[in-house]
Amino acid sequence: MGTHSKFGDYGGQYVPEALMPAIEELTEAYERYVLDNEDGFREEFGRRLADFGGRPTPLQRADQLSARYDTEVYLKREDLLHGGAHKLNNALGQVLLAKYMGKERIIAETGAGQHGTATAMAAAHLDMPCEIYMGETDIARQRPNVFRMRINGAEVTPVTTGRGTLKEAISETMRDWSRTVETTHYVIGSVVGPHPFPAMVRDFQAVISEEAREQCREKTSRLPDAVLACAGGGSNTMGAFDAFAGDEDVGLYAVEAGGSSLSVDEDEGVAPNSASLSTGEEGVLHGARTKVLQDSDGQIMESHSVSAGLDYAGVGPELAYLVDEGRVNAVNVDDAAALEAFHRLSREEGVIPALETAHAFGYLHERADNLGDLVVVNVSGRGDKDLETVVEETGERDIETAPDMDLFREVGGGI
């Protein structure tokens, strides 16, 4: 842990003046409770992560993949965390911190709904009122997650401006926060946004690599040669890497969504990928300087990925820094490879990964020969949320690893 407002030139606090006091208050609270463990914050956080969240999550040997690649492959099973993804580590940490800060209300934005559901669960657990902003287009696309939030007692406020997706929801949440900073904490969902979010979210997620490092030594008496994690904003990524950062022989691979292509359409302002680390340029987005998918004017592009959770035009500033420094390898795989990997892991290991996670396995498949003898892959979440997308996207492609889709067509209707 550490408190830097910057990582090299990245990071910082590019936020409206009205939010600065909240950011400063939060920075102070982060330092007091998270870093200096005042009032036993860290113990309570650890206890709740264990009892409510289900930590530690296992580090599991993947028998079939190990045989297939002739490499020891281990899975860090964040899919087993309550809610089905690593997101709860952060949401629980922030809601608890808000409680320590005396805040009375939680707000968050969500796109695919994963961060929203994690936040709603954490807020219910800690008895805090919670409001989630979500674009109306996303609400229509992600009904199960909307319902999960609602039954966890959260208000879900549809955002009707613009295209009704994540970016409008972020703006709307910022707007709420700048009206209500005194009583409200805004739970950001990844290692993005202004300081202290990138550092704080990383610290909350670092438990992934702290456990994995220990578990790997216990099970194999050594450290891995490589750690793979998918990267959207980069929170599971930083979480999976952090404790290995000082182990120079451990290769760290941030696997971004290559989407359908790495090229961009400047005229339409559309990037058919979400590979900010690989193809983005330095810029300022949502409060931080980082790598951003943008056109030559600096307008943010619409990103695209088969996986909603990776579909973001920015990336955590620390990750951008570590890539520039050469400590982290920024790589990417495309939609088809991710789908193929989704089916491969499901079928061969009995673990249905999130489509986000599947990207990491896509890279493993492409490069297993070059990753060394012992590879840890972070299974950032489970794929139940993605079934509908997978049926649709698999049907449109010729995916070798997929089951025959006839049964679904026969029975007809949606999932």
Binding site: Y14, P16, A18, M20, G162, S171, V181, L285, G287, G298
Partner: protein, 275 residues
């Protein structure tokens, strides 16, 4: 640096519009109408795709302008095409300033802005802590850099802004993002009292909608009133109803006049209205 002078003749009326909303030609006509209506400074928004500091009204104006093809390059042409003689302040987000030109950093953008006659900047996502490079470029080209002061801004941060601010200071009358509101918060007087000894004029914005509001704000001590959403509403409505550009321009001019007169009344320079 000329912005300060715009406040010399008594309370200034500082309207905001997004450049290119809902289209290039209409927008030219609208800005010119505001000038006719009595604007002392115009804050001319350069639309950015992620306007995190704006309320819904202005966010939608920005979407309209972007959809109609507004870009930084077009924006500078727009400024050149404008037939107004009030000072112009460019209001935009830092990424557009940072990316402009081949060399990275704010300098090329500021240089070009100076060329077309822009006199200052308001950058809502650039706090004083990160403003060094832009401040330097402004100094180099003789432009002002306006900062926002919020009701929640700490004394420590006020100091940091005071060191860097020029032109005027934008006092946010209440918490929240931009957006027209019926009430005028009494945060205003309190906020003004905190910066009363600064040597730049104090313009108050956020939530000002009528001549009456403007009057009370100036009476509370403001050197000027900044009005955005109430004007953008007129543009939006005209666009929604497909009204002729001149009609919408006339409405904007009338609204500008109402606001300017309110401000003057607040300063005792016109007879007070009962409101």
């Amino acid at each position: 640096m000329g912005l300060e002078q715009a406040f010399d003749d008594g309370p200034a009326f500082v309207p905001y519009l997004a450049a290119g909303d809902p289209g290039y030609e209409e927008s030219l006509a609208y800005v010119e109408a505001l000038a006719r209506g009595g604007a002392d400074v115009v804050e001319l928004g350069l639309p950015f795709s992620e306007p995190i500091a704006e309320g819904t009204t202005i966010q939608e104006a920005i979407v309209r302008a972007l959809d109609a093809g507004m870009t930084p390059h077009r924006y500078f042409e727009f400024v050149e095409d404008l037939a107004v003689d009030v000072p112009l302040v460019c209001m935009t987000y830092y990424n557009l300033i940072y990316q402009y030109g081949t060399e990275s950093g704010p300098r090329p953008f500021v240089e070009r802005a100076a060329e077309v006659g822009i006199e200052g900047f308001v950058v809502p996502d650039l706090p004083a802590e990160e403003a060094g490079p832009l401040r330097a470029a402004c100094d180099e080209f003789g432009l002002d850099l306006v900062f926002l002061v919020a009701p929640t801004t700490t004394d420590e941060r006020l100091e940091r802004m005071r060191e860097q601010v020029s032109g005027y200071v934008y006092v946010q009358a209440r918490l929240g993002t931009t957006g027209a509101r019926e009430d005028v918060s009494d945060h205003t007087a309190r906020s003004l009292s905190r910066i009363v000894d600064w040597d730049v004029p104090e313009a108050v914005g956020f939530g000002i909608k009528t001549g009456g509001h403007a009057e009370r704000i100036v009476r509370a001590g403001a050197d000027g009133v900044i009005v955005g959403s109430a004007l953008v509403d007129i543009v939006a409505e005209g666009h929604a109803n497909d009204d002729p550009t001149e009609e919408v321009a006339d409405r904007l001019e009338a609204k500008a006049r109402e606001l300017k007169e309110g401000a003057l009344r607040g300063a005792g320079r016109l007879e007070a209205e009962s409101d």
